[in-house]
């Protein structure tokens, strides 16, 4: 009896840990499929966490907080988009600058909220299903962010594969010159894709500060933005593989906590690094298998119309 409750709780925390990553990496995947490499995920995520927390704490509304987080992530992504897409600046340097800017701004915004606490976003039980043993709570007793992440995954998978806008977006990421020659607005599409990425990163930040760990700390993203970036590569730019990657990382990061609890004598620093090691190992394996296939051909290449 105790075991099933325990397993259920562990699984539920795996889902929670994976959700942040899934949301953020889905956004980045869309941006990258359109050909823009935005290394600012970490910055957009933390600004979302800070603005979301500040808004929710001040207004008392989690929904308002979430909306503000999405808008904040989007606003920061627009800085990146302006630099790289409209001014053809280097994407790597601009992305790093975006992260640094985001971390700084978030610290400023969050400064007066250090030490406060919020009530976490409530679990939304689905009547009937959430009472199922073990998996009931895991799959159907989660907060709105978890359901949103799954809906987002379905939307992105379907949208990229089946809709015209998805097709055009993939085409722009594959060859911006060809897409331009066919009359598709390359820079507009890339801007929208980057903004979608920013919105997702902001949402992931809101999940952190409003649901997963409902308080504000200036380093609360703890490199999750970078992991989200790595997951996109790990997934070979396929949304469904993101699900696998996010849950692998989530599972290892939760399990190592429990292993630390058993006191096996392994240094905790080593255990804490396990999720990152697992992700790196998975990345290396996948890229060895696929030899870098699946990357959008124009990824990271600035587009300047008419040469």
């Amino acid at each position: 009896m105790l075991d099933t409750v325990m397993i259920g709780a562990v699984l539920a925390s795996v889902v929670a840990a994976a959700t942040t990553l899934l949301i953020a990496s889905l956004g980045e995947l869309v941006a990258e499929r359109a050909g823009t490499l935005n290394l600012g995920v970490e910055g957009m995520m933390i600004i979302g966490a800070a603005v979301g927390y500040a808004t929710a704490y001040s207004s008392g509304s989690l929904l308002l907080g979430t909306l503000a987080a999405v808008l904040a992530g989007m606003a920061l992504s627009l800085v990146f988009a302006t630099l790289t897409i409209w001014l053809a600046a280097n994407q790597v340097a601009s992305g790093l600058a975006t992260t640094i800017l985001g971390l700084g701004l978030a610290g400023l915004i969050g400064a007066s909220f250090v030490g406060t606490r919020l009530d976490a976003a409530p679990a939304l039980d689905i009547p009937g299903l959430s009472d199922l043993p073990i998996l009931g709570k895991v799959a159907f007793g989660q907060d709105a962010f978890v359901y949103a992440s799954v809906a987002l995954l379905a939307l992105v998978t379907w949208g990229l594969a089946r809709t015209r806008i998805g097709l055009i977006l993939r085409a722009v990421g594959e060859s911006h010159a060809a897409a331009h020659a066919l009359g598709h607005p390359v820079r507009k599409i890339r801007t929208l894709a980057v903004m979608f990425g920013g919105a997702c990163a902001g949402l992931a930040g809101a999940h952190l500060s409003l649901a997963y760990t409902p308080f504000w700390a200036s380093d609360m993203t703890a490199g999750r933005g970078w992991i989200a970036l790595a997951l996109v590569v790990f997934s070979a730019w396929k949304p469904l593989w993101l699900l696998a990657g996010a849950y692998l990382f989530g599972a290892v990061s939760i399990l190592q906590l429990h292993v630390q609890g058993f006191g096996l004598g392994i240094p905790s620093q080593l255990l804490s690094s396990l999720p990152y090691l697992a992700t790196v190992a998975a990345l290396v394996l996948i890229s060895a298998m696929k030899r870098g296939q699946g990357a959008p051909a124009s990824l990271g290449v600035p587009f300047v119309p008419d040469r």
């Binding site: 055009i168 993939r170 594959e174 897409a179 066919l182 030899r291 008419d306």
Partner: protein, 524 residues
């Protein structure tokens, strides 16, 4: 029959032009790419746009389809002024363009590629059916659900044409369509063009292959140096008179000197096999070749049949064959890298000038160093001797008539022809005993091309063995001694130029000879 071209161009009531450019001018900085150029395309005709590289053909076409905006001048469609702010606007008017560099997406299927060129979305299944119908009607062999990345160049071109045709264009513009096709594929393209004009569509056929233009086109506009030169009926002109209009002077043919004695073998290739690298790089299968001092061997073939792999295997950029498979001047070189092979006095000129033969952002003098650093003249104990380097640079520029602005510009500032002369000069001055050149005159103007061929010919006369890989069959027939054909990674035995014909080589380029050779082997 309003479409018949009047014998006298000044005759009254010419048929109305479908698409007309009047006095278009386009400047890029100081360069006037188009200087008051006019062109009129009529319904039901195949109109040639003739000119050398740099004559302004591409600029004109880009203005006619909305990719570039003219500085002055006017476009008319069926007599009424129009402007095309972007390619979508010209497509909406019924102007379709198939560019030389296809606007295709390798990672997408044929149907998806076609869908991207249409103004509205339709179901991919319905679209695939429309593609099949179009394929059937115009004889364009294309499979809707294949990945474009897997297709041959000819198939890709057909995808482009199908994409244009589904937009139901009134005017179809084909930019150098046959430069990537086998003679057979060209024939089938011409049949498609005839079907299109018979339906009252107009085709603008951009080319510098005069025989094709004379066969296919009823009218030709000639550009030279960005200016309109003449509008003629190509069927009434000779290839020589058209060439005169294009170049503005007689183009000398390269003299063929076959009187000299052939020396010993400089390059021996025995059963060279190479695996393909990944999805795009092609494999080499059982390549055998011998080149003797004093001869030029040409390798013909449609792009993408393994020529690049062969060049890289011979230059040492790609290793993987047996050490004995490649013998340069009696030394087994199969396991040696490019610098070691150069030390055996081999010279290599790759196809891609910028980025492969020369570093675009390095000065020309530094580019000299790239292939000569191992020769022991300009580098001593790891230190560059700039005085020697500049003397070498000066000699290349003088002897090979390389023209540029400034004293020592970056490689990317040079025109294609001048950079090619520089790259070839750099190798020739190393006094190689073996010279391997991939696409010696690709994208080079006629005068420079003629100079390059003469240079290679002279080098052979001095006892160098020369291998020329080219897609330009006319060029190979003009100045090589023997021609081999590359098809799907195999190389046919070289045949003396006098004993072969365009048709025979064309068949082999399409794989006919490989097939029969296999048949013989099976029978044996």
């Amino acid at each position: 029959m309003a479409d018949v071209v009047p014998s006298d161009p000044l005759a009254s009531e010419p048929p109305p032009a479908l698409l007309e450019a009047i006095g278009l001018t386009k400047r890029f900085g100081a360069l006037v790419a188009n200087d008051h150029v006019s062109l009129a395309i009529r319904a039901g005709e195949t109109h040639a746009l003739l000119g050398e590289n740099g004559a302004g053909k591409s600029t004109l076409v880009k203005m006619m389809c909305g990719l570039l905006q003219a500085d002055s001048g006017e476009l008319r469609f069926e007599g009424a002024p129009v402007s095309f702010p972007d390619p979508a606007a010209s497509r909406a008017r019924g102007i379709g363009v198939v560019f030389q560099h296809f606007a295709l997406f390798d990672a997408l299927t044929v149907v998806e590629n076609v869908a991207l060129g249409l103004p509205r979305h339709e179901g991919l299944a319905a679209l695939a059916a429309r593609i099949e119908a179009c394929v059937h009607r115009y004889g364009l062999q294309v499979e809707p659900y294949r990945l474009v990345g897997e297709l041959s160049v000819g198939e890709r071109q057909r995808v482009e044409i199908v994409r244009c045709l589904l937009g139901d264009p009134r005017v179809l513009i084909l930019d150098e369509p046959t430069s990537v096709l086998t003679p057979d594929e060209s024939e089938s393209l011409f049949r498609t063009v005839d079907l299109l004009t018979a339906e009252g569509r107009a085709v603008l056929f951009i080319s510098h292959k005069l025989d094709e233009v004379r066969r296919l086109c009823q009218r030709a506009t000639v550009l030279r140096g960005g200016k309109f030169i003449a509008e003629v009926d190509p069927r009434r002109e000779s290839a020589a008179s058209l060439a005169r209009l294009m170049v503005g002077a007689e183009v000398p043919r390269t003299p063929r000197i076959v009187t000299h004695e052939l020396g010993e073998p400089r390059l021996l290739v025995k059963n060279l096999n190479l695996k393909g690298d990944g999805s795009r790089g092609s494999a080499l299968i059982d390549i055998n070749l011998e080149i003797r001092a004093g001869e030029i061997i040409g390798i013909a073939g449609v792009a993408g049949n393994g020529q690049t792999a062969l060049f890289e295997a011979l230059s040492g950029e790609r290793l993987g064959g047996d050490a004995e498979a490649i013998v340069i001047d009696r030394t087994p070189a199969g396991a040696l890298g490019p610098t070691e092979r150069r030390a055996l006095r081999a010279g290599f000129v790759p196809e891609e000038r910028l980025g492969h033969a020369a570093a675009p952002d390095m000065r020309l003098s530094d580019n000299v160093l790239l292939t000569t650093h191992g020769d022991g003249r300009n580098v001593r104990h790891g230190v560059i001797r700039h005085s020697v380097l500049h003397a070498m640079f000066g000699e290349i520029v003088k002897r090979f008539d390389v023209r540029f602005g400034g004293r020592d510009p970056k490689a990317r500032r040079l025109s294609g022809g001048n950079l090619q002369k520089f790259v070839i000069g750099r190798e020739v001055l190393r006094e190689p005993v073996l010279l391997i050149v991939d696409q010696p005159t690709w994208g080079v103007d006629a005068a420079a091309a003629s100079f390059i061929r003469t240079t290679l010919r002279a080098k052979a006369a001095e006892g160098c063995a020369v291998l020329v890989i080219s897609q330009d069959l006319d060029e190979l027939l003009e100045f090589t001694d023997r021609i081999a054909v590359m098809c799907e990674g195999r190389l046919t035995a070289p045949v003396p130029v006098e004993e072969t014909s365009r048709e025979a080589i064309g068949l082999a380029m399409g794989g006919a000879e490989t097939a029969s050779a296999q048949g013989d082997a099976d029978a044996a």
